[in-house]
Structures are given as structure tokens and as C-alpha cells.
Symmetry: D2
């Protein structure tokens, strides 16, 4: 008999939300979770209505987090794990309280809007020994993991240069003025935090950079800018970065680049080989050993390592995409949670799940970028 499904509750993600629905599809795809309830909105009626849309038991569609924690704590079939999918400024409090109540947590990124809050969560995870996954979901793509494995095994030699970019265009015009819900909170410092594009997507690019290379950025010099008049947060940012081994990188994040939908792309160059991966064609990885013909690795095709193979659902040529990569994070987190319940160490892909430490790192990145930019792109350590 397969392990039981984990009971999942959700904070946020009510009617009209985007990422909440993604989390739910991700939780469902591999059948490792059962959504049982949550607080889907700060408006109690909307929370209940959203739960009804999801065919949940009305009594588990709570008006407040307090209600949920109080009630669930005492149910025999209590929730195992809580997904926090609210806007950025509302991650910290529910994540903290869920941890304190003994629940495992899956939290959207960026983890918090201040570094102090991020570190506090990290501390609390250490104390409570709960699983805490942060949905840097792009690390769930099989070929991202393949690249990580190839770099870790030395196939690229010493890494010398990394080029990471994440370009979108949906904020190229002031859509926040038209009532676009996704835009409205993202351009608002009260809800988004100290950064705009750098926080929303730059942090994904940064995580991908460190995740794939297995190296730490030690310094950055960032020039954040505002392209659309009237905005208060960056909608474009370019930066130079350096690694401890002397390797150099640049990172570009923009939400005002017409013609780019969700253009997260990374290129890593080492002494022995280079590789390139792009999120919009995620089923291919280009690998170019020095002096040899470039090769195209495919998700499910020949020559994949264990990490990639474990993250593949259907044969090569049958494209998997964003939802599947997101689901991979969820399924690997399920392995972590089950291992935690069973008091044993996890292994395999579970060890690749972004944790609270990655969440902290992301906030450090945002803070460093903002700080550097405020000082005219001075170098800032992180």
C-alpha cells in the first residue's frame, strides 16, 4: 500500500488568485496530497466560497488563521502541512504561526519582506524540526536538476562565467492602474516589500543560479531601475555578481521587456564545457564540451542522471512544463514530510527541495540588490 496522502491546508489562494491554483494543481498531480481546508481569503465569506468551489467541507474553510489552528490542532485527521500562498507581506505571520502549531509549511517566495523575519522563521524551523519548503519552483524541472548534477560531478570543470536572466513583459505598461490584481500588489511596497521585479522574479533567477552551480555568490553590484513612470519599486534590474572562486556572473530581471513572457534562462560556462537552459523550452538542455559538437539533452532522453530521471513523468518528446516542475517540488516535499513523520533521513530528490535556508538566502539577495542600487551599484557582500 502506498503511503497515505498528506492532508494539506492552504492560506490564501481564494477566488481570483493565480498562484494558489498552481499550488493546488501541483499538489494534486502526483497524488501525494489531499487538500482538506484552509483560509482562502481574509474575507470569511470569500474564504468559504472559495472552499466550496474546491468541494471542501465547509467546516474546514476557516474565516481566520486562528480558527484554523485552534480547530485543526484537535482534529484526529488534522492537517499535516500548510501551504502559504498569500502576497509577500503575508508570508511571515502565518508561516510562523503554523510552525509554532506544529504544522509543516510550504511557503511561496520571496520568503518574507524583511531579513529579520526570514531569519526568525529559519530559527523557528530549527527549533520545531518541521519541514519548511519554499517554492523556488523552477528547481523542480528535471533538466535543471540534470545541469546541477553535471556541474556537481565536474563535467563543466571549474565554473568561470554565469549569465542568468528573467525577462517578462506584463508590466511594460501601468497595468496596475487598470485593476490587474496580480500587478496591483506587486508594485506596492506595502505588500511586495522593498523590491519589485527583483523580488518577484530576480529572486527566482538568483536561486536558480546558486542551485544549479552549487556555488555561492559573494558580492553583487546592482542597478535597479523604474521604467514605467509613477512606480515606486523597480521593474527592471541589472547586476554584476562574483563567486568565491573568482567566477563572474551577471543577472538581469525585467518585467518591462516586450516580447518576453516568462523568460527565465541560465547559461553556465566552465573550463571544460558550457550549458544553457531556458524555462520556456524546459525539455531541452544544451551541453557543449570544449572542442566538441554541442549536444542536446532531453527530458527523458539518453544520458540523464538520477536526479533528472526521478523527476520525469512521461517519455521524452511528450512535453512536461511549469505545473509538472511545481508538482515536483510538492512531491519531493511530501517525501521530506513523510521521512520526518517516520523519523528517518530523506534521500533523493527530497534533498533538492528549497528550504527555509534558501528562503533566507533569497531575502538576503533582495536586500543586497536594493542596498547596492541605493549606493549607485556599489559592491555589496552577501
Amino acid at each position: 500500500m502506498a503511503a497515505s496522502r498528506l492532508r494539506l491546508a492552504m492560506i490564501g489562494g481564494g477566488r481570483g488568485a493565480f498562484i494558489g491554483a498552481v499550488h493546488r494543481m501541483a499538489a494534486r498531480l502526483d497524488d501525494r496530497y489531499e487538500l482538506v481546508g484552509g483560509v482562502f481569503s481574509s474575507d470569511p465569506q470569500r474564504s468559504r466560497d472559495s472552499g466550496a468551489d474546491l468541494r471542501l467541507a465547509p467546516e474546514r474553510c476557516y474565516a481566520t488563521l486562528d480558527d484554523m489552528l485552534r480547530t485543526e490542532r484537535n482534529r484526529p485527521d488534522r492537517v499535516d502541512v500548510v501551504a502559504v500562498v498569500t502576497p509577500n507581506h503575508l508570508h511571515y505571520d502565518p508561516a510562523k504561526r503554523c510552525l509554532e502549531a506544529g504544522f509543516h509549511v510550504i511557503c511561496d517566495k520571496p520568503l518574507t519582506t524583511t531579513l529579520a523575519h526570514a531569519e526568525e522563521l529559519s530559527h523557528l524551523v530549527g527549533q520545531t524540526k518541521r519541514v519548511f519548503a519554499v517554492t523556488y519552483n523552477y528547481s523542480g524541472y528535471p533538466l535543471v536538476r540534470q545541469a546541477k548534477e553535471m556541474i556537481a560531478s565536474g563535467e563543466l570543470g571549474d565554473i568561470r562565467v554565469v549569465q542568468t536572466e528573467y525577462a517578462q513583459d506584463w508590466l511594460a505598461t501601468p497595468v496596475e492602474a487598470t485593476g490587474n490584481k496580480q500587478a496591483t500588489w506587486r508594485v506596492d511596497p506595502e505588500r511586495s516589500g522593498m523590491a519589485g521585479a527583483i523580488g518577484d522574479i530576480g529572486t527566482h533567477a538568483f536561486h536558480l543560479t546558486e542551485f544549479m552551480t552549487g556555488m555561492r555568490v559573494t558580492q553583487l553590484a546592482a542597478d535597479l531601475s523604474i521604467a514605467v513612470p509613477g512606480r515606486r519599486l523597480d521593474d527592471n534590474g541589472q547586476m554584476l555578481m562574483r563567486f568565491a572562486n573568482g567566477a563572474r556572473a551577471s543577472l538581469w530581471a525585467s518585467q518591462v521587456a516586450p516580447g518576453n513572457e516568462n523568460g527565465l534562462r541560465i547559461r553556465v560556462y566552465g573550463a571544460k564545457a558550457g550549458l544553457e537552459w531556458s524555462q520556456e523550452t524546459p525539455n531541452q538542455l544544451r551541453f557543449a564540451p570544449v572542442g566538441e559538437q554541442p549536444r542536446i539533452l532531453t527530458r527523458g532522453g539518453p544520458g540523464l542522471g538520477a536526479w533528472a530521471k526521478a523527476a520525469v513523468r512521461v517519455p521524452s518528446g511528450h512535453p512536461e512544463g511549469y505545473i509538472e516542475a511545481f508538482a515536483q517540488i510538492y512531491s519531493d516535499a511530501a517525501d521530506l514530510i513523510v521521512a520526518s513523520k517516520e523519523g528517518r533521513a530523506a534521500s533523493g530528490g527530497a534533498l533538492l527541495v528549497p528550504t527555509v535556508a534558501d528562503g533566507v538566502r533569497g531575502v538576503q539577495f533582495i536586500q543586497a540588490a536594493v542596498s547596492s542600487s541605493q549606493r549607485n551599484a556599489a559592491w555589496v557582500s552577501l
Copy 2:
């Protein structure tokens, strides 16, 4: 409150099967179905074990179809719909009996191994008024539907030329001799039917051709061939086709084309414009009006029609793929079934679901291709 989930049973798809798992992910993704039981294998123990893997109630993991039909018919929470995901030669019998028992059916393709059986099923669907979907799953891709809508609305003008191909390479060597389960039955006339590649993938290419253009092929001249010595069924086939309006097409299906993973591709050319779509990059549709710059339509991007929009889950640039397209067929079939239960006509994407008529058409195609090839590529009407 959302409509209840439909109760789904499955015939086939036990441990080690490929397409059964895909059907289950497809059924799960949009949360319209709940898998409740089935006959997962002709081996009763394997059926039960497979059900246990899926966390199903043991009493609903049946040893035989008879058991299932007898028992389920009398349950208050009886199954709504049965997915038939067995090898080709085992579609007809369970589909027939499920229809007769009053269940709706979702059946894999090709529908049957003989045209008589296909027509019998079609007749029975008419009698029983059950929903009968055939998983020509590639018609679930949003941009396939977009192309269909554009052609239907006249944006391409009169269609003149169609080029369809479906190239794979996994049978380029005699893998059936190595125990590959998927290969073994596909190259076996007893289980696969009268055709090999033409039945397995050619029928998808044919369905896509007629689905997208909205036109009927009236004649074909096929040259089926066997590339790998010792095989008894075609592993490659090329054919000329003609439509009623005088338009011409060619179709190529091959499982021995090294470097092709799942290369289903269609190009349609009309008097006013042309378009191209490829399954391996399904989130893009190239549209070229005569005398203008080609445009790239994207899943979720600007300018989509109603059919495509209704089949999109996540924003453009966040790739959706094979599982999502398959899920679309399932979800649209759910709409059909709910409409049937409620005694009303379905609308929207539900009307795009491939039906038993498409299943019959696919078998006609296979029979015509085989017949033509046996007569040295003589023209055969269909």
C-alpha cells in the same frame, strides 16, 4: 458548490503500464474525477496490487470486468465512467460491456482492431446515449484548438495543402526483442491489430489533420514499410491524401526515425495564410498571412479565441504540455458527462472532445492505409 467529482474506474493501466498512469494524471489535474476502482490487470493479484499502489479500496480493485460490472451496478456510489486503457485488441470488449452496463466510457485509441467492432460500438453509443470519448489527446492542446478556430473562421482562406507528420525513433532497433513491454505488444498483430506505426501514431496524425482543418480526407494512397527486419507490422508509412475540396496532403508516420522523440507536426496552407504547429513546442503556433510578417501566437498570449482560452491553465510563458492537453480531454469529457446526467446539451470545449465517431474514423483510416499499401499504394476512398 462545484459539481461533484465523477467516479472513475479503469480497465488496464496496472503496474508497469505507461498510458494508464497518464490517464490518471489527466483525470486528477483539474480535479473533476475521483478514481475509485477498476480492473487494472488480467492477473487478479496484479490488479489488486496496482489498486493498492493507488490507495484504492481493495474491494473495488476487481479481478475481472464481470466482477466489476456486477458489483458496481449495485453500489449507491457506483462508478460514473470507465477508462479503457488496455492494448488495442482489448478495447472493444470492455468498452461494449461498460456501455451496456450503462457507464460512460473514455477509451484509448485506436478504438478497435476491426472496423466492424468500431461500428458496433458506435451503434451502441447511439442506443445507450452514453458519453464515449476517445483519447485523441493531441486535440486537447490549446493552440491546436486555436488553429481549428482560425481555420473554421476563414482566416486561412480555402485550404490547399496540408503536411502532417508523426515521427518517433524508439522502434529504430528491435527493442521488442529486449523485453520492452510497450514495444512487444505494439509490433504484435494479435494485440496491435492490422497496423503498427500507422495504427499507433498515424491515427493521431490523421485525427489531428481532420480535427484541425475541419475537412474530410476522401482518398489516400499509402506506402507502408517495415524498416527493422523481422517485424510483421509497418514501422514506417508515407501517404498521399486528398480532400473533397481538391486540397492535397501528405502524411508521414514513423517509429524508426532517429532523433525524433514524439514529433507530431502539422502545417496547413490556405489561400490567405499558413500555420504550423509542433507537439514538442506546443505553446507556440506560427501564423503567416500571405504577404505579411509571420506571427507567433502563444498559449495564453494575445489574440487567442475562445476555444484556446478555455483550455489554458497558467499564463503564457509558463509551459503547459502533454499531461495538460490530455487533462483537457478528460475535463471536457467531464462536462459532457455532467451535461448528460443533467439531461442538457453540452457546450464549449466539450464539443471538441473526440467521440466514438472519431474512433470509427480512425479505424477507417488504418484500414484504408493498409488496404492501399497492400495494393501498391493504390488510391483508396474513405
Copy 3:
């Protein structure tokens, strides 16, 4: 000291012509030829004016071929080679007379409008021992030659399937009615011969197929069609082909496929590997060995054989294109001519130059395709 430049005269290619200017750039690029005169138009004044545009000596810009042959024959610096770049129906006569006058000939394709004429020219070449090149220019691309070398050396194993296509869109509307000079003669049976698209571009596709594979097509079944009402010659054609070894092919040529500019593309699949090449991205060749990752060979990149290397002018990544490939034919023909002058055998790329035999073969192909199509796509041997 390098060998002297060859003295080149041209028949056709006056003001307003397309292919004549291409021949002249091709002749110039590698500095192996000096254009010294010609008959650039059937209108004497236009011939002289065209020559003046080219800064030629007025006395060598002849009013008629007779004039040219009579005069040049007696000059001490007489012409070495004549390029025939007139419309199809005007190839035979000047080519014949130039051969008879002792000149080498470079002739555009298709060689002639009747097979009898083509064979007569072939016979005459044998008698006169002159070099006779036919500008199947796509065979001049380095990566086409690389593919030929790889196939010849067995890297693909036995060839099983070939898919060749040549799609354009410039005749998708009746541009001949608007005075387009290129279109007008191509759709006119008097000037173009028995075929339209099949003669103009299909013959390129056919030559490429036999050139690259090194195999002979033994049978074809063609369905030629007319998409634009009022035309008398095919503007679209699809066909099945068979090789002596049992391999199968299909070939598609169309000038009515919107969105295709000059889409000549070939895919060859053998028992050991497959490869793909497309004229619009000619600096890449995709090579996929069975069970391995596909590799991208580049013009000038790692792993090229002698034929490709010899046809490269600038380093990889610095694109070469159509003019360079055309120039390759000219330069290799120069090697043939110099060898002929010096009474020795040629070697290297010179042996790859399409000859009168290829010209004859092309006319056989056109005749077979037309004949098959007239008999409802019956198989025709060739």
C-alpha cells in the same frame, strides 16, 4: 603564382534578371573567374546596356550568340567558359552551341525542357570532353557535403527513410498577373517546360536527395496539383519515392505555402543514425545517433570531414549562405576546368560538382513526376 582567372561569358542575366546576378557574385567571390562578355539579352541594345552596367568592353557584349561564338573563337584571350542563365526553354540551344564551339559550360537548372535535349547535351559533353556543370547550387553548402560524407562513410547505417521538402510561398497568389517577371515565365509551359514547381524547385529537392544519400530513386508516385486557379502548371506537388535498397522517401515541393520563403529541407534516417538539414539555417546540421544525444554540427566547427572543410571560407559562427554555396559550385567547376586544360584528373570538391548527368537526371525526374501525376499517381520508374 595562383592559376589565372578563367574568362567567363554569360548568356542571359541582363538587367532585371535574378539568377544572372547570383551567378556573377558566385563567380566573383573566390576570384577564380573574370567576366569578360556575353549575350545578356535577346534584345541587342539591352545586352549592350547590361554589359555597360557590368563595366565590360562594349565589343564583347554581343547582340547574338552567333556573334559571340564567331568572334570569341578567334580572340587570343578567348572565353574559357560560358554560363547559361536564361529561362529553362533557352538552355538547350546555347549550351549545345557553346559545347560545339569548344567552350566549357555552366548551365542553370533544369537542364532542358525535354529529356531528348538533355540526353543530346550529355552525348555532346562526352564527345567534346568539355566541362559541363549544372547549378544544383544547394549541393555547394558545406554541411550538405558533410552529410553526404557521413552517409557515404556509413555513419547512418543503411538508409531507411528520407523526407525532402522544398516549400515557398511567392506564388500563393497569381503574381504572374501583376507583371512579376520571375513568375511570368515560370508559370508558362512554353518557357518553363512540362512542370512548374516540380521543375523549378522540386528538381533541386530531388538532386539534393540523391546527392546527399548517394542512392538512386527507382520509382515515384506523384500527385501534382494546381492551387491557384487559372494556372496551367503545377504549383504544388507531393510524391512517394522508393530506392533500390527498399528505403522509402517522400518529397514535397510547393510554391503556395504561406510562411515559407525558401524552405528546402532534408531529413535522412538510417539504421544507425538520423540527420536533418535546412537551407534557411545552413550552418547547422543535426545528427542523432540511435540511443545517443543529438549533436549539432556547425560549418567550421568540430568534427567536419574533408569535403565540408574545403568548402568553408570563414570561421564557424560567422554565417555563410546562399551566395557562398553557389560560389562553391563555381569554384569547384573552376578546378574541373583547370584540370581539363591541364589534361589531368580533378580531385576533391571538384568531383562533387553537378554535371550534365545530374542535369539529365533532373529532367528524368520531372518527366517521371508529370507522367505519374497524369496517371493518377501511378508508380513510374526512373
Copy 4:
């Protein structure tokens, strides 16, 4: 009668050189020049031998520049224009002396190894009124000019973000240690100047950025690095840049990025649209207006402006490449020279030819980048 060919001499470009042969093909392609002599090497015998390879009159294959200037000055058929194609440190002196002797000059880039020298040449051009073209050859591509015209005409709106990169891999290993002639001088500060990759290719990327956008970079912050141990000049460099209007850019130049052959690429994003162009696929330009479907402009295809059209030799779909773009610079320079001879203003593409001012600008860029990098990527104005 067409204008006479210009008489061209060459400094450098003898046996074994790369760029000299490119200049010669570029000069030849459009038949605007006749190479008549030069000083092809500092070794007199090698100079003569190189001239013999080129079929030049021995008496015009000079041993020294002095010889050439003294002799040519007095010939009635004296040289019109001198191409300087030596390594960087040998541009200044011959360019200066040729100008002083009254010749027009076409000089390779970067113009000089010091800014003082560059400015002196600029001054001298002003005094002598000679044409002085600098071969920033990538500006000769038709679609680069198309992009420039679209930006100039406001089709992109105010420019906000530019991403330029130029990535190669041929110096990923210490090939200079193996005797590679091209590498040896490029990594040597004595011959290459103060910069390595930034001077060799970064300056192309910079010119392209300013050429296409029509805007001036006002500040940059550069981090140049050395990836291959033992080198004294940068082989990789990343930088942030700012324009006067507040737009931001980043530029990356690398010769140690495995898998990149000649990856010059630019992306420009404005308030109304974005566009992308890549040198390795130069026949396409991607144009994405905000909120509309991206369009693919092709060289020779629909919708091109005057500048692009004037730079096209063969129809769309027939690829042009590096040599053609280089030839465009030569042919436009010929227009400039003829206009100068005739004492009239030039027009059209001639006005797009990179001049000595662009040469100076390139040296300013190199100096600023080196200076910034030496000060830990401090902002430097330019």
C-alpha cells in the same frame, strides 16, 4: 556605364591571416573595388608571395609602406583607398600615413590602441577630408539597419532597456600556447592594446548598441576578468551601462564561453515594443509590440524599410551572412568615396558606414571599461 571600380591596396592580410581574406571577399562581392597591390606582410618576401597568390602585379606588392606610398603617389592609376587589416597596434601608423598621402582608408577595429592616437586620426581625417571607414562590420547586416530604422522612427517608443552580448569560445583553453596565430597576438598587450576580449569583440557589441539604438552610453561600470590562468588581458567582461535618457543596459563579452561560436546578440526594449537580433541567425529580426503577437521580420521579406532593402542581394529565404554584411560596409564606403571624388554629399546606406568617429568612440569604450574595471567596477563616464 557603371562607375569605375575603386583601386584598393591592402596593408597586412598576407598568407595565414584571417581578416585580410575577409576584406578581400567583401571588396570583391559587389564588384566596386579592384585590389591592385599592397604591403601584405612586414616580411618583404612574404608580402610578394602573398601578392602572387592574389595574382597581383609584382611591382605593386611592396616591401614597405614607404615604398608603396612613394610609388603609388606618382602612378597615373594610383590607388584610391587603402585597407588596413594589421593587428591592432599596427593600425595607427599606416592609417595616418595613408591619410597624409591623400588616400582614403578602410581600417579594421579597434581603431588604435590608445585614445590619443584615435583622436589624432580623427583630427587628420578632418584636415584631409578623406573617407575613413572603420569595419564595424556587423552594422552592415540588413536587419541591423532595419532595427535602427524602426527605433529611429519611434516604433519601439522610448528605449528603456538594452541587453547586448558577444560570446565566443575559441579562447576557452590557452590556444595561444599552441601557436594559434590569431590567438597569439590577441592575448598580447603589446599587439592587442589595453584590452583583450573587450577590445576584440566587446567593441563590436558596443558599436552595435549605439548604432542600433541611436543613443549614447553615458556611463559604464565594468568587471573584466581573466578566466584562463596566465593571461594578461581580459578574456571575459561584464558591465552595466546607462544612457542619457535613463535607459539601462548590460553588455557581456566573452571568449571563454563553450558552445558559443560568434554569439553577438542584441535585444532592445522600449515603451511600445521590443526587438531581438542575433548574428548567427542574421536573416531574422523578432519584433514584439506591447500586447500584440511577436512578428518575424526577414531579410527581404514584407515590411522592410529603405535601409534594409538597399542592403539585400538575394530574395528572402536565401540566407546572406557575414561576408555579405562585410561587403555592405565596403560597398557603402565605395559610395562615400565616389561621392567624395565627385565633390558631392553621399546619401543612403553610405551614411551608415562606421567612420573615424565610431573608431574613436570604440577606443573610448575600451578605455572606460578598462579604467572602470581597474577601479573595481566604479562608474566611468564616456
